[in-house]
Symmetry: D2
Subunit: 106 residues, 4 copies
């Protein structure tokens, strides 16, 4: 589970600033896309990037993901485990091993 | 902390399929942006979205975030907490309360 | 057609700086996603945005789109017209009128 | 100029389906980010991509860009040329030649 302490700290941070009003699911989804673009910018012209910069941008994406999960009443780790079960079925190890092809091209 | 079990399950899933070879930091950053776009698509024409669809897409963004964190030797929750400390300083509660303006416009 | 002058000016600009070496199709696709995120940021917390800011960010997305079209030997307007023909068939006016649903839900 | 015919055809296409109601600047910005993600997906695991697939996805990004330009009363080519003038000043050829560094690191 994403530590209760991380979720609590984030919740406190948001409440102190009365920012919950801006955190509609749609605004949070937009924010995730925006931060994902900033993370990608670390690699704009090269496959290599400054690790500290990547850490900071990845933190931003994760932060908004945790906020969105909270907003829709979901647990981040539960979401990942549930989706993993679905993906396991779509990509059986014997068929998918070593291949990056999409499931309908296996 | 993101449960050891989630990280371990993801690692096992990837290893079984020999997919680690595709998981360069750059490819993972691209994947996060791609999935962020699919999450945003839930809200393309409306501020409301089907919760199950949002859960599934959010799970995909989170999954690639956890994989990238692993790849660069970082702990997802540590990243978030570290960034929160930085953001706290940029947005003091007394100045930022109730305002969505960027820190250089407070 | 996107004016020969725009394409020529962009080409001259890139050549003067010897930047063509960075303009692989992949890097240009990453750049388009990055700039699309910056454009989206104009609307992060609100449906309204500063028009000048939107103009500038939209210009960046368009610039990289034109560069990518050039790189793959395509004409931007031709691409749009060709795709429009495909979309017309997917969304017949009588079925799609006034509805934002995807074509498989019409 | 982006051919009057392209803009007119797009406008007719939208009007026939009464889709203008969905084309707020915000929704169009979201759409551009969504399509940019689909374009990027062509390159998710490799620097090489199927050209026809790239043409189709690039067409989608361009289409929404043209629609947004129309919506805010701007001409796509004008936007690009205006921005180019700004970028020329930020990246003087003598300083920027052959370098992908950002303008504040030249």
């Amino acid at each position: 589970m994403t530590a209760r302490s991380v979720r609590d700290e984030l919740a406190a941070f948001v409440a102190e600033r009365d920012w919950g009003q801006f955190h509609t699911p749609e605004n949070l989804a937009k924010s995730i896309a925006i931060e994902a673009g900033e993370l990608l910018e670390c690699f704009q012209w090269s496959p290599d990037a400054d690790t500290d910069r990547v850490r900071g941008e990845l933190a931003d994406v994760l932060t908004y993901c945790i906020l969105l999960a909270e907003r829709i009443g979901a647990d981040p780790d539960q979401l990942v485990l549930e989706k993993l079960a679905v993906t396991r079925a779509k990509y059986p190890a014997d068929k998918a091993r070593g291949r990056s092809a999409k499931y309908d091209a296996l």
